[in-house]
Subunit: 664 residues, 2 copies
């Protein structure tokens, strides 16, 4: 076992085979422990490990199923409309409420609405309140056991009420109680210790300086374990000190059923986890060919306390990147926790969806691609999210996962893929896919739409990319601000060129101010586009096809120049905020973006252009009602004023439809 | 408002319209209250009521994305395989681990695997551990910002991370923490008080005598409320005392956001709920045309404490039958709790399935039919469960609900229905539909199959009904013991008659002993079938089409008699345990059933017949693998001995296939 590089980059199935074999050897591939819980003390959600067998019938006595009169069916024989029969209390009839036990002499019930209460000739009472009658008249007989819930109608003693493996739902608790049970035997919740390690880690809420990282993986892992039915226990952060890490792992092993050591599992200089496990026990897997997730470690460490034979506790080294950590949870920890609870393999719901863009995948790795799902024109689409292992939002936004097997080098746009869902399928239909140009107001729209139970998912592919995506039926609408320098019009000439065959409607969204974003105080004294060729300046650009890029290139042309000589022209960001962040962090001195982006990051701004940002909506997408809330919002003065409050935005024309024809 | 009968049996939509109007009037049709929770303290599962906006970028510094050397990209220009370049520390390069901040002078990282560490001519050290090198050789240049995670790659300050209405998943907590948040504003869990009322109620675990009922509805309702995100609080049972009930309701109203009063809501003599609400506040709905569930009461009661204006708390009278109570929860309480949490309407997943049998429905009521779902021959089937409002097992077994609207009088067998699922669709495919004859060993099989993640759902329609159901493709297998008196063979002549066109295979399951079930000590001294005509005896029969009925009728015929004169011949039970329970509870003196049923209920048994119980399996159902565990179990000696332990069973031939041909 080397301690510096993860050499054994083995396939996922092989890693699981080794893990499972080692678990089985130690008797750890089955229900961990059984405990008895009282039904009425949070038994819901627990997993039954022994069948629930009725010890009592339900009902446990013959019960009246109606409010009415208990009778002997034989006494009612012959009663007819034309030949009514009078029954008297006591002896022939007795009033019973629903649920009351049948008198021992009775074998049927006549519902109260089928009797006439007679005035008792002796007391002259009770004609009005039938329940108090001592004489009733009936005009039809009843068969034995009618309107009676006989003993065992619901449950018979010795009957199987719930099979083992059942995850107890509220109604299951009721059925068990009806069968006379007051306790159930369920799987103990496995205790999973989570140890964050790393001198660079700081707690949530504490200031994180340069090189310091807020430690939240342990929170995510603990929440995952809780969600899967275990008990996630977070340990304090351990600094990079080999002996200390060894002591903490041993302590956790002595207290837990499973130990997760987070971070320190890459091949970097702080990689102590594998060495620590190897010192305390044994490492079986170091590195798994799965992406993201690679540097997973699987080992076992014996308890230092407790009875012989010594129990060896599985210890998993979980990679430090947040996405890798969470996926390692799903891949290695969820199946084990479920097994320990007596549940089967996870059975995620799988749907088929069409991939919206090409993705590459490194051969040799099983690749876990996060995707967002939406339905456009009766077709489920899967839009790939950022691949980066550090991009936490890719997990948070994900509706599901596409697994690209390691023998495949990638997937083409338009391919049908299987998506393992994180959410119920019904929620996916509420997703609105926005594509095209990025604008800050889309976040405001996303939040406002959430009130209407719509989720807005924006892909920032630039205005032109958005129109092309619409033509391919890959989004519900596109935001676009493509200026035609010839006509001064926005979008129309591009729509005619790229969207013939796809009837669309065009609506004004916002007017907005574009300009150069510079750091506070504008120390380089940048005045406009003409400064971009200065040798002391570096620029950050937007990607090709974005409306902002078109704007820049047009401005360059109008100056009679070319992009040659602009330092950083080839460096591309995909959003206005990305440009602003690049300026803020010193990666560039300036970039072209909307005013609100500069303002959001407290930067200075040199206003240059006023432009129109419009929504392009295919006619067919307007029929489903999905987009209705957008139209409601475009007329909503509160929403409009919220946007107008943002610097550089103008909502005067919001919602105006642009009339146009195919021919120019 | 009368207090004795629920006159206003109004349609469900009308009831909801009134309820919603009254909630809106009181400002109770929106998020109830907001609270701030620390991310790391069980925020998972809570519902966000304000958008989570990033207050910090992620990463918050330019971080190395690899283990390697931080460099200035410009310094690496021109490096080629044929023209390597040497970089020195300090000044030109510096080792960085993944996640380390880039030195301020650097703008790119060269991964460690792309460099050669050189021996430092001065110290002669470091060639082996590249990380310590002070001289490295590179053979390719890098572009600016390569292998760097720039500030804001994941999240930019001011970006929307999570929209309001999000139910927080573990990964969402990570994204919020990455965006610099440590608290989130979520909806307060509504406190829902549940008051069981009724002098007949006893606690779970206590002995329930005749006329007493174990109170578990409050447990089920509380578990439901918890599951929906509220906080269910059970109050002690209140006896039927009007003033006491009023006091308890007022106390609950003063402490809670919603009060459920369970039982006492029917029109029976213990109906105090409506009167109590009317006395303390006002009743708006009394009786809803939904089945089961009818006697729902909706009212509002003002708090007796707290500030002006007085808050009026909704109080719902929940019917006492367990199934009605749980469905009332789903129909009235879940949507309200969700609304208070800021979530949308419940969106159950809906699947289309074919109904296995005809159901009647009373016109005028929306009927909530519980069904079990399974897939037979690529077709989803919905098998209706017992309709009784007291049948708790019908809710526990249910995979979903079919709503039969009130203008429809019923549904035909074979009709396609929409089923609102309680479970993920993926779990439904693990259901094995057994149909036909009831046998006690099917419970043992059900439990054993649960280990294989199969759920066995048995419909006891009798042997003949089972064969007919197989012909219609409505089950995976049928248990059958139809004796052909002519040949002495089991099942074959019936299979030839009813299943031509459906190729099936036939397997021995168990040999079993049938006989008369009588109470302990056999006080009536019953000896055999010939006694059934005695005038002092009552009999309980099995339903027409059951193998046991065929057996009885054959025995009657062999005695040269007819059924005429057997008291109770027309009273039918659907299971062996049902027959035994009828004898145990005194509804009959004897009945024909298997020995194990008598034994389960501690009754005496007069053995009369040995018979063969076999499994009939359509060939097409054997191809999917679903039934494989049944074949594994038929060869499993532990399973066989478990069955053989039950009285009257013989497993010697279990799993033997009966060879047969279509022609006789």
């Amino acid at each position: 076992m080397t301690d510096s590089v993860y050499l054994q980059d083995i396939p996922l199935e092989d890693a699981w085979k080794i893990f499972r074999t080692e678990l089985e050897k130690r008797g750890l591939w089955s229900v961990l422990e059984v405990e008895e819980v009282p039904l009425d003390q949070k038994a819901a959600g627990r997993i039954l490990v022994e069948p629930a067998i009725a010890v009592r019938p339900s009902p446990h006595y013959h019960a009246s199923a109606m409010d009415g009169f208990a009778v002997r069916a034989a006494d009612t024989l012959g009663a007819m409309a034309s030949n009514p029969l009078i029954l008297t209390q006591p002896g022939q009839m007795q009033y019973v409420d629903t649920g009351d036990p049948l008198p021992v002499w009775a074998d049927a019930v006549i519902p109260i609405e089928n009797v006439e209460a007679l005035k008792d000739p002796q007391t002259l009472a009770a004609e009005k309140d039938a329940r108090l009658a001592s004489l009733i008249r009936i005009r039809a007989g009843v068969t034995p056991w009618s309107h009676v819930r006989p003993v065992g109608e619901d449950i018979v003693t010795s009957q199987l009420i719930l099979a083992s493996g059942t995850r107890l739902r509220p109604a299951d608790l009721g059925a068990a109680a009806a069968g006379g049970l007051s306790n159930l035997r369920v799987a103990k919740k496995p205790r999973v210790a989570i140890l964050p390690t790393g001198s660079e880690l700081v707690e949530i809420g504490a200031e994180a300086g340069r090189g310091e990282i807020t430690e939240f993986n342990s929170m995510v892992l603990a929440a995952q374990v809780d969600e899967w039915g275990g008990e996630g226990v977070r340990y304090p952060v351990t600094v990079d000190d080999f002996d200390l890490i060894c002591r903490c792992i041993q302590e956790a092993v002595d207290q837990s059923d499973l130990v997760l050591v987070n971070a320190g599992s890459s091949a970097g200089s702080e990689d102590f986890t594998a060495r620590a496990i190897e010192k305390l026990g044994r490492v079986y897997v170091h590195g798994v060919a799965v992406r993201p997730g690679h540097p997973v470690i699987i080992g076992f460490v014996p308890r230092s306390i407790g009875s012989a034979p010594t129990l060896e506790v599985p210890v998993i080294g979980v990679p430090g990147y947040p996405v890798s950590a969470a996926l390692t949870g799903e891949i290695f920890i969820e199946p084990l926790v479920r097994r320990w609870l007596g549940m089967g393999e996870p059975q995620p719901q799988v749907v088929k969806a069409r991939l919206t863009r090409k993705v590459n995948s490194s051969a040799g790795d099983d690749d876990y691609l996060r995707v967002v799902i939406g339905e456009v024109n009766h077709q489920l689409l899967a839009a790939p999210l950022s691949r980066g292992a550090g991009v936490t939002t890719s997990l948070s936004k994900a509706d599901g996962i596409v697994i690209i097997p390691r023998h495949i080098q990638g997937l083409e746009a338009g391919e049908t893929v299987d998506v393992r869902l994180y959410k119920p399928e019904s929620e996916l239909k509420q997703t609105i896919f926005a594509i095209g140009s990025h604008d800050m107001t889309l976040d405001v729209l996303a939040q406002a739409l959430s009130v209407y139970r719509r989720r807005l998912v924006s892909s920032n592919v630039g205005s032109l990319g958005g129109l092309i995506a619409l033509a391919r039926g890959e989004a519900h609408f596109a935001g676009s601000h493509l200026l035609d320098p010839e006509t001064g019009e926005y979008n129309l000439s591009y729509i005619r060129k790229y969207l013939h065959g796809t009837p669309v409607r065009l609506f004004d969204w916002v007017g907005r101010t574009q300009g150069l974003v510079v750091v506070r105080g504008n120390p380089s004294k940048i005045k406009g586009i003409a400064d971009l060729w200065r040798e002391d300046l570096s620029f950050i650009n937007r990607q090709r096809g974005s409306g902002t890029r078109v704007l820049l290139d047009d401005a360059i042309r109008r100056l009679g120049k070319t992009a040659r000589g602009i330092r950083g022209y080839e460096r591309e960001e995909y959003t206005h905020l990305g440009v602003a962040a690049a300026v803020q962090s010193g990666r560039a001195d300036c970039g072209l973006a909307v005013q609100a982006a500069a303002s959001a990051l407290d930067l200075d701004f040199i206003p240059l252009f006023a432009e129109r940002y419009q929504l392009v909506i295919p006619v067919q997408n307007m029929a489903t009602g999905l987009l209705d809330p957008i139209f409601t919002l475009m007329r909503d003065s509160k929403f409009k004023s919220e946007i107008a409050k943002m610097p550089g935005y103008d909502t005067r024309n919001m919602g105006n439809e642009i009339e146009w024809t195919e021919s120019t």
